[in-house]
Subunit: 386 residues, 2 copies
């Protein structure tokens, strides 16, 4: 995929090893010489990382010029020292790039608890301004990885403009908002007044509809900067942003810790989008549904259990239809027995599983994204050492 | 434990193989010749089993004489045929015992979807009235088991009376109410006006504070019958009922599918009991906390993540203290490093893990019960066939 990545005009990148991790890249910068329109959304976790409040301040004027990311240590639960360290990184970068500190959005990802090796980082940052390049987007994408096994980058053309997204994330990912780190850049013209609504609409349909293990990270951030060089129709840009966010969302789910199948649950003909999302999440988060998909077992009983446990759902059992792929497995309050073997085969032969739940109580629908639960997930997280 | 079980006066039991399972016991009855004071609480899952609405009706007059349970097939999502089958079992038992149908509370547990082999069951029920015995409580306990590996029975003396509890359950167990099947019997005198409050108070502190995999079963039932032979102080009975429910709750958690450790999370000095319970559940349900306990990793970062993701929690990070066993691992916004190795050793050497979270924002507390997440849980549920 990297071969086909297009880079929007006006952005420069860096990804390098600075000394937080033993050997792998652990420091990344995205930079725009001109001030960009910008928006960002952050984790709702109350124990958020120390860079987050700095980012919240920075984004208030809807103007940014740089993202800076350290990986390996999350800078979470590090108190006043951690906050000061995050600010030192921002100030050092501001000095190197000769831009205001408040035009920089910082993030950190990795282990919770330890302090950053701040002296090592600051020394390693000497001269970063001279090492930025339009060719280094992939290096930036590598520098923000932790347990990810794959680089997650994607670009889309929209009119004369380009939209680029770079993401990381594979565990501790759930509902609330966020999800992981996602950096979106474009050279399209987007007004400051419109940028937040555009971003939040796309995030709701993608990252906020994704769930790997129901845990909500302390550092999740999705941020968008536009260098405002090419006029693009608002609707076209919105559509491209939706598509880009969904692609990155699917890449993250595919790379989820230990996952063998992705699961896409679409709840249709529902009384409201909100209810469709709650029901979808209940299904995609159910450990029993997740293990059934892993075992390629068309266990629709676990799906109806997960629907039924949503107390606020408007459920008419007589109208409910459940499909695995194209095969109706439950209708008229009973199993469609002739589709059982076909459903089993569908689960066995595909690694992107689609579950459709037709509530038939209304006209709204919503899709959520998740993955199965495997022994490997337990192994990765049972033996990841602090 | 079975050797020391005391049986309250006035109750007779039966547990036998009737032909739902291949060989194991799958049919059980508890019977009282006299009308008992009774209360019951059921799953809140909207896709509840077909016996549940019959039980809800039966309990309305707070009077019961029998429990009847089939295991192997849950009689869930079986529509009108399933409801009629549940009623046929009740009516047949009423006929055999010569008691009113509405004095019988039925349950079924097992696989969701298939219809009960009703003819086999009704034929097998011929003469059950003649095979009830005060000696067969253990046979009843065995007859209600599915994936359970251990019989779960416990009795307590309260004044001159006896309180007996028999339970089953090891997966698909979570919050809402219920949990599994729990039958409580006593020969104490309990007024009909008081029995529901007594039961619901005890259930809130035990079964409703327990969580194995966040999934809520479709058939959960907790029911209490008292044969009203011995006068006992209300407070003493309430205390004994609390103790009995907690013992059964801990036995269920210990027998959870694939679990290697039980986890008891006590949230203290909290602003309300409700908040303490929500925070406790967020911790005990977190897959990352569960796998950390499994791996004996004192990963307090995952605990603060689970606290922080409760958006409504009143959190003062400066006041928060986290203990693993007796060892403070987090205080004053940082790891208590000298306790790290002791905490690790505590996790390695114990299979009943206690996590204490001191919020220090108020005076209320609540304890919740759960277990770790292991490869074996995934294996059991990934390869359990419908």
């Amino acid at each position: 995929m990297e071969n086909t990545i297009a880079i929007p005009k006006g952005f420069y990148f860096l990804g390098k090893h600075i000394g937080i991790k033993k050997q792998k890249k652990d420091f990344g910068v995205v930079y725009s010489p001109e001030e960009c329109s910008a928006s960002a959304m952050f984790t709702k976790n109350q124990f958020c990382g120390e860079p987050i409040p700095i980012g919240r301040e920075a984004i208030k004027d809807k103007c940014l010029q740089a993202f800076v990311v350290t990986s390996g240590i999350a800078n979470v639960a590090t108190g006043a020292v951690g906050r000061a360290n995050a600010q030192k990184i921002v100030d050092k970068l501001a000095n190197e790039l000769e831009i205001p500190s408040q035009n920089i959005l910082p993030s950190s990802t990795g282990i919770i608890g330890p302090q950053l090796p701040i002296d090592t980082i600051l020394t390693g940052m000497d001269g970063v301004g001279d090492n930025l390049s339009r060719l280094n987007a992939k290096e930036f994408a590598e520098a923000i990885m932790t347990t990810d096994t794959k680089v997650k980058m994607h670009s889309i053309k929209v009119g004369g403009a380009t939209l680029l997204g770079i993401a990381k994330g594979s565990g501790m990912i759930e509902p609330n908002m966020a999800t992981m780190l996602v950096y979106l850049m474009s050279d399209a013209v987007v007004e400051k007044e419109e940028i937040h609504e555009l971003l939040s609409n796309s995030v709701e349909k993608s990252f906020n509809s994704m769930s790997i293990d129901t845990d909500t990270s302390t550092s999740d951030t999705v941020a968008l900067m536009t260098s405002n060089l090419y006029e693009v129709k608002k609707e076209a840009f919105a559509k491209a942003l939706d598509e880009l966010c969904l692609s990155l969302c699917k890449e993250i789910v595919k790379d989820a810790e230990g996952a063998k199948h992705t699961i896409e649950v679409t709840v249709t003909n529902c009384i409201s989008k909100k209810e469709a999302k709650i029901i979808g999440k209940s299904i995609v988060n159910s450990p029993l549904v997740k293990t059934a998909v892993y075992g390629a077992d068309p266990n629709w009983g676990r799906i109806i259990m997960a629907i039924g446990k949503v107390e606020e759902a408007h459920l008419d059992k007589d109208k409910l239809i459940i499909k695995l792929g194209e095969h109706i497995i439950f209708q008229n309050q009973q199993e469609i027995t002739e589709n059982f073997e076909k459903s089993k085969e569908y689960l066995q032969k595909n690694d992107e599983i689609k579950i459709t739940v037709m509530m038939n109580t209304g006209v709204e629908e919503h899709t959520v994204y998740g993955c199965d639960l495997t022994e490997e997930y337990v192994e990765i997280n049972g033996h990841y050492t602090t």
